[in-house]
């Protein structure tokens, strides 16, 4: 496995360089995983991507670098301590670096020579390919989807030139992933929404959710999806609810700040029983916080957001497969129970790309939006039923009136002040959770059946936790015989409890791992099961925890 870092200032094209490199490496067989670390600015500052590639399945990043591609001085300065002794620093000739591992290439000179100073970064791609013993025959195919036709040739030339000036250094490891997809978490999520029959997406730009809207907009005409940039997040959620009420499958997405503005709308979906999927792509708060960084600190917030009580479901995405398949499940559950479903992701997963098996569409069941049939008897939109789910019709599609009211209402949807009807309606809505609880997905269990220490986590720390369990069980640190396993939650609310109780009972210690400052999952678990975690590994500096860091800190807390 190799770990590369590409760093430079905003505006230097790190993203495109990384994306091209990723795709080329994947095409040549590697499993590639790239995470992105950038600042909230358009030009300048210091941004970087970590590209990890190898022959096994990779689900997280690592800071132990084999190579640094530095587009500016700062990158060398900041990251060279992370570089292993045999690693390299690839940079332009004019960059200050007296590190003996430096490979200087006159990228700017080459770029100028071939007639376009902007392709200096592309020269680096060529050099990297050579260093890792790649071929460059199929480069053109890949470049086509990243570069405008007019610039194709000059870019190919830049790669070739870079390739020519570098030397083979690392052997090609020959993976089997060339037929896999490589895509970001947000793209996987968006594909899931499209596969669910999404017809309407309304949102207001906010990192790290904006790429959902961007990808959807680029496919709008092709897939018959209206993407509406709303005037604010309040409009965004009310539009999604209006569209869903009227029969178009609808979603809205934002980050925590926008979610704060959607709180009342969330309750509207709960009260009027209009299916709704809301994505919260988390970033560090409070408020504006770190706009482009990562955190898992909205869990309790989204679970209890909005006044009053109504059923909802919260699904946390753990990895790119989840991003696709769980999004589809979110739509199905929203439709089946006529409730809001919140998808929690975060900047790490949203922006990271991973290599995964092409999504299978065959065994996907899509629950269709509300029936359109006529009723013989009286149609009651909010009919009191055993399981709380009433017949949802689409206005204008039958000879029945479809109603919605945010006041407490009777079975017709008319405003009521009756104490009796109130209790019935509250019970009807809340009872939907009973059936939903039966179809919750237990957390994924990772590691040996017999273990000493149980790690707990949720969402995007899945990859790092999985890696940590592997590291720790290889015999690590002070007590190499200690065995570690982990449970990582995808469904977080309602909280699935069966496996948790079973595994917790066997653990000598329970260590909760979260990318936040207060240990929100631990609180939730104690509230619902009484199980108390022995200790917490918490990180809240906006940078995703790595498998190595979890392993180190798990060792530490296992002796306290």
């Amino acid at each position: 496995m190799y770990n590369l870092l590409i760093g430079g200032a905003a505006g230097q094209g790190i993203d495109t360089t990384a994306a091209i490199l990723e795709m080329l490496l994947k095409k040549s067989g590697y499993n590639v995983f790239t995470s992105r670390d950038f600042m909230s600015r358009i030009r300048g500052g210091h941004n970087f991507s970590l590209i990890r590639f190898g022959t096994e399945i990779i689900k997280s990043h690592s800071n132990r670098l084999d190579g640094i591609i530095a587009l500016n001085n700062e990158t060398v300065e900041i990251h060279k301590t992370e570089l292993n002794p045999k690693g390299f620093i690839l940079c332009d000739a004019k960059i200050d670096s007296d590190d003996h591992r430096t490979i200087k290439i006159d990228m700017e000179g080459i770029a100028k020579k071939i007639g376009n100073p902007k392709v200096a970064g592309t020269v680096a791609i060529g050099a990297v390919l050579k260093l890792f013993s790649e071929k460059i025959d199929s480069v053109k195919d890949v470049l086509k989807s990243f570069v405008k036709a007019d610039y194709l040739d000059v870019n190919i030339e830049a790669i070739t030139e870079g390739f020519d000036v570098a030397e083979n250094r690392f052997p090609h490891l020959k993976g089997k992933f060339s037929d896999h997809m490589i895509l970001s978490g947000n793209n996987a999520l968006t594909l899931g929404a499209i596969a669910s029959g999404l017809k309407f997406y309304s949102a207001y730009p906010m990192s790290p959710s904006t790429s959902i809207m961007e990808y959807l907009a680029s496919k709008g005409v092709e897939m018959d999806i209206v993407v509406e940039q709303a005037e604010d997040e309040i409009a965004a959620i009310n539009m999604a609810i209006g569209a869903s009420f009227a029969g178009a499958r609808a979603m809205t997405g934002t980050s925590g700040g926008g979610f704060s503005l959607m709180v009342e709308g969330l309750g509207l979906s709960g009260m009027t029983e209009i299916p709704l999927v809301v994505v919260d792509a988390q970033r560090p708060g409070p408020v504006t916080g770190f706009p482009t960084r990562t955190e898992q600190s909205d869990l309790k917030f989204v679970i209890s957001a909005s006044q009053g009580e109504f059923p909802r479901m919260v699904i946390a995405l753990r990895h790119h497969e989840d991003a696709f398949y769980q999004t589809i499940r979110a739509f199905n559950i929203a439709e089946k129970y006529q409730i809001p479903v919140i998808i929690l992701t975060d900047q790490y997963l949203a922006d990271a790309s991973a290599t995964i098996k092409p999504f299978e569409l065959d065994d996907i069941d899509i629950i269709n939006p509300a029936g359109k049939k006529d009723y013989d008897g009286e149609y009651l939109r909010y009919k009191l039923t055993k399981d709380g789910v009433s017949p949802r019709l689409i206005p204008g599609k039958s000879r029945n009136f479809v109603t919605a009211d945010s006041d407490e209402h009777d079975e017709c949807g008319w405003i009521t002040e009756s104490a009796d009807m109130r209790i019935k309606m509250m019970d009807k809505r809340m009872i939907k959770l009973d059936k939903l609880k039966l179809e919750l997905q237990e957390p994924e269990f990772i590691g040996p059946e017999s273990f000493d220490i149980l790690l707990l986590g949720w969402g995007s720390t899945y990859g790092p936790i999985k890696e940590a369990v592997e590291i720790l069980n290889k015999g690590y640190g002070k007590k190499p015989n200690l065995k570690f396993s982990a449970l990582v939650f995808g469904d977080v609310y309602p909280l699935p409890q069966k496996l948790l109780k079973e595994k917790a009972a066997k653990a000598s210690r329970i260590v909760n791992v979260e990318q936040n400052a207060t240990g929100q999952l631990a609180g939730l678990i104690r509230e619902h099961t009484g199980i108390e975690c022995t200790s917490n590994i918490l990180k809240y500096d906006g940078r995703q925890i790595s498998g190595e860091e979890i392993a180190d800190r798990a060792m530490e807390v296992s002796f306290k």
Binding site: M181, L191, K199, M239, G242, A248, L268, F359, F401, V402
Partner: protein, 284 residues
């Protein structure tokens, strides 16, 4: 003669003498005269006294959040443009809590109709000043008189780019029905700001107050001239014009949106698995 009736047996929660009754009557008449099918009507409202209107008319309805009628209405129309989408709600709902949606749905120009029951007061919460309350008026919270200049919704709507802007008075039913019909028939966002006496909380802008002041715009007035319309909209003193203040034909959201302009109603379009397969391939 109309095929349909919009009457429903449902006790209203309004005060006797309230202007809302006339507005409700006129709306039913307008819909009947336009020969609308009740099942294709979607009535939308926020929260307030006016916002209870949808409950009292035989139709589909969506009474959502205070201030948020417009986004829900616009999106419902985007989802299914075979629906006739009509918003009846209050001045506080439309211009206060909902002010941002007012500005931006004018720009969005989805083909929806917005009837504002403008009683110049927050009725349901018992008499605080609304965005259209006159300066100086003593209100529940404005104990020394309202010090904030009222918003002129008609002028603001024209300035923000609305293509159909009218003013009416609940006390002139024939005229109101005509305004309603024209607004519903207009292709795009249409605003009718309707003076509506609130007998319980507005002791200044009473039936008599409006009745003395309003006059109908006649044929000599050219509602197609924007400058003239802006000037006319500013006429708001001893005499207040009612009628279509401004009308301009504009492309609607549906006509401009690249997804909607071709093909049937959005909700009827099916996502094809083959197309998804194509998207997946782009990542391989």
């Amino acid at each position: 003669m109309s095929k349909h009736t919009f009457n429903i047996q449902h006790e209203t929660a309004w005060c006797p003498g309230c202007g809302n009754f006339s507005i409700l009557d006129c709306l039913k008449t307008a819909l009947e005269e336009l020969d609308k099918d009740p099942y294709e009507i979607l009535m939308v409202a926020g929260i307030g006294q006016a916002a209870k209107t949808p409950q009292y008319i035989d139709s589909n309805y969506f009474c959502g959040l205070h201030g948020r009628a417009l986004p829900a209405a616009a999106a419902a129309k985007i989802a299914n443009d075979t629906l006739t989408v009509i918003i009846n709600t209050g001045d506080g709902d439309s211009y206060g809590e909902g002010g941002n949606h007012f500005l931006h749905n004018i720009r969005r120009n989805v083909d929806i109709t917005h009837f504002v029951h403008d009683n110049q007061v927050y009725g349901l919460t018992k008499g605080q000043s609304s965005p259209t309350t006159d300066e100086g008026q003593v209100m529940d919270v404005q104990v020394d008189g309202n010090i904030i200049e009222p918003l002129n919704p008609v002028l603001t709507a024209i300035a923000a780019g609305a293509g159909f802007v009218a003013r009416a008075f609940s006390g002139n039913k024939v005229h109101l029905v005509s305004m309603m019909k024209q607004a519903i028939e207009y292709k795009g966002y249409a605003l009718v700001d309707i003076f509506q006496p609130c007998v319980s909380f507005n002791k200044v802008n009473t039936f008599a107050y409006y009745n003395q002041r309003v006059y109908e715009l006649d044929d000599r007035y050219n509602s197609g001239n924007k400058t003239a319309a802006l000037v006319k909209a500013m006429e708001h003193g001893d005499k207040i014009p009612i009628g279509v203040i401004y009308k301009e034909s504009k492309k609607t959201y549906h006509q401009k949106n690249s997804v909607l302009k071709n093909g049937g109603p959005l909700l009827d379009r099916k996502t094809k698995p083959a197309e998804i397969g194509k998207l997946i391939k782009e990542f391989i």
